[in-house]
């Protein structure tokens, strides 16, 4: 079983592809982190403003919702590269390594396929939100913008999972994120 919410292990790169994937995954994670820092700042201004009688930031709840969605999705590729999506390995502990590698590869392929489907459907949802000019209630933020910003995270997640599947199927390759 993986280590939920512990301290993540270091990603080790073995070849140039991994170099770029890790850099992209980390860059997205950091941008998500910075977005959260901005959201925290907004929340603080909101509370202090309300307490002092200036009122909270207009639409703070909408912005927090949209921001969380974008930032949390930006975290997905990094987590995928680490191979840290939760799975149960209790029943397969004594399984032969080669067989385990094969089913892990299939699992990564499934992850890639589903991430790709989600990215595709989210693109459609973005387009329809833009056509219908749907906006949030208070600050009139067009909904298609945060929806569209989810797509890069999902696409990169699909690519990362696909790469991990490829590396898992190649006996000579090391899988990024596998612990030493």
């Amino acid at each position: 079983m993986q280590d939920p919410m512990g301290i993540p292990h270091e990603l080790v790169e073995h070849d140039p592809v991994e170099h770029y994937l890790i850099a992209a995954g980390k860059a997205m994670a950091i941008s998500g982190g910075l977005l959260f820092v901005a959201l925290i700042a907004m929340s603080l201004v909101s509370i202090v403003g309300r307490k002092l009688g200036f009122g909270s930031v207009t639409g703070d709840i909408e912005l927090m919702q949209a921001g969380t969605a974008v930032a949390a999705t930006a975290f997905l590729p990094y987590c995928t590269l680490l191979g840290e999506h939760i799975k149960v390995d209790f029943f397969t502990e004594n399984m032969a390594d080669s067989l385990k590698r094969t089913i892990d590869g299939v699992a990564e392929l499934l992850l890639a396929a589903i991430a790709a489907v989600l990215a595709w459907r989210t693109v459609l949802s973005t387009l329809s939100a833009r056509d219908s000019q749907e906006v949030t209630t208070l600050v009139s933020l067009p909904v298609w913008i945060p929806t569209g910003l989810l797509v890069p995270g999902l696409v990169l997640m699909a690519v990362c999972a696909l790469y991990r599947a490829y590396a898992t199927f190649h006996p000579n390759k090391k899988v990024p994120g596998v612990r030493k």
Binding site: M1, P4, M5, G33, I47, R50, T73, F75, S125, L154
Partner: protein, 442 residues
């Protein structure tokens, strides 16, 4: 085929996929999609339409924003060296008692748990600080590792607590109420562990030799150092329950305050900040992916009406309510042998919650029952972290204390587990333990 049958077959497939190492999020997603397709007689348009908005609708949730914020807060606490200050404060206070330093570890874990929502992070950070010192003072390896593995669970039992947020989101329960309800049981858990240590060192004084008393001035200084940490906890809990900040805002305050403390007194620098962000990305990515899968699964189960049908069946079967409850708790303990607590909550609450809500327990009103079951579920799923074979806390601590064999740690936690069982039984029969504070404040 009736909806209930489809739901049950789907659930069986889900468990099968989990057993062969499919990611939990993916297994939930595939099962959910499968149930959708079968319910709609192979028509794909309904499923595709649901998928359009699945990700955005699920992750743009104001209550769920609490999770990454609390995780970030815990990461700051972890990387900012706050654990050291807490351990020192508790150590100077009671370290001269027999077994005192082990008790100090428990107390420090409890305090750390009040600003961190993760058991593993609590066990790992406190372990790094406390284990070397326990070893130096001649504490037995078994007592040291078992104390830390068990006390690590206080990270989750004492709010803020990520599984409780997920329970709240799944059941439309108030996060603030659940956090307040968890306070007293969390303190009882800490006291129970202290008692266990006291009994162990009484029977075997060699296990935890008494240390020397620390000069009074040093003791006071160590206590002053941790005041900011206590303030953060009070700010978060009082803020939420006092009604001047909602949980998301309180979590923002907590994260900002912890970040500040970590930067000023803990020496957090750019590198540590990045590590905190990576840690948050790692945990949040993992949790949100499972949430997305669980969302599709739960809406498909709702479509099949399996949970309501099952709940009605249990209600009409005339089974004693307490028997149903204990069966559910036993299922949690068994599931805890193979999967982690978040997955358990997401997988089972949609099915167990309607069952419990349909039964009568001591004539409790519905809103009390919902909070009470949440706290019970939290406590039982957390036991999975310390009992063999896959208790993650055992592994985390074992990695830190290489000289202590795993077998010793596993045996060492048994008395702590016994105190867990006593506490859970007490909470089943005395719901006031968690509801008292809620009623008093509400």
């Amino acid at each position: 085929m009736s909806g209930t049958t489809i739901g049950l077959v789907g659930f069986a497939c889900l468990l099968g996929m989990l057993a062969i190492r499919v990611h939990i999020a993916m297994a939930m997603f595939i099962t959910g999609a499968g149930i959708y397709l079968v319910m709609n007689h192979g028509e794909t348009s309904g499923l595709l339409y649901t998928l359009n908005n699945l990700v955005y609708a699920r992750v743009s949730n104001y209550d769920l924003a609490v999770i990454p914020l609390f995780i970030l807060m815990g990461q700051f606490a972890t990387h900012g060296g706050l654990s050291k200050a807490l351990f020192k404060a508790a150590g100077t206070l009671i370290g001269h008692w027999r077994g005192g330093l082990a008790m100090a570890s428990t107390a420090a874990c409890a305090a750390f748990g009040a600003i961190c929502g993760s058991s593993l992070a609590t066990a790992a950070t406190m372990g790094q600080v406390a284990l070397p010192e326990l070893q130096e003072r001649g504490y037995s390896g078994k007592l040291s590792t078992a104390t830390l593995a068990a006390s690590g669970t206080l990270g989750i039992l004492i709010p803020p607590s990520v599984p409780l947020v997920i329970y709240a989101v799944l059941t439309q329960e108030s996060i603030g109420k659940l956090f307040v309800a968890a306070v007293v049981p969390g303190i009882i858990a800490a006291l129970g562990y202290l008692l266990v240590i006291a009994v162990i060192v009484r029977r075997d004084p060699e296990a935890g030799p008494a240390g020397e008393r620390v000069p009074f001035a040093d003791m006071v200084k160590a206590q002053i150092n941790i005041i900011p940490v206590l303030l953060v906890f009070l700010l978060v809990i009082v803020g939420i329950y006092g009604g001047w900040a909602n949980p998301t805002e309180a979590a923002s305050i907590g994260a900002a305050a912890c970040g500040l403390i970590a930067a000023i007194s803990g020496g957090m620098r750019g590198k540590d900040f990045l590590q905190s962000v990576y840690g948050t990305a790692h945990a949040t990515g993992m949790i949100f992916m499972v949430l997305i899968g669980a969302d599709l699964l739960n809406s498909s189960l709702a479509l099949s009406q399996m949970p309501t049908e099952l709940a009605t069946w249990v209600q009409q079967s005339g089974l004693p309510a307490l028997l149903v409850l204990f069966s559910i708790l036993v299922i949690y303990i068994l599931l805890g042998c193979v999967m982690d607590s978040l997955a358990m909550i997401l997988l089972t609450i949609p099915i167990f919650y309607p069952m419990i809500m349909g039964l009568d327990f001591f004539g409790m009103p519905v809103e009390d029952k919902s909070v009470w079951f949440g706290i019970l579920a939290l406590m039982v799923v957390e036991i999975g972290l310390v009992h063999p074979p896959v208790g993650m806390n055992l592994y985390v601590i074992n990695k830190l204390a290489k000289s202590v064999p795993m077998k010793d740690t596993a045996w060492g936690v048994m008395p702590f587990l016994a105190s867990d069982f006593v506490r859970i039984t007490a909470l089943v029969f005395i719901p006031g333990l968690c509801l008292g504070l809620v009623h008093w404040l509400g």
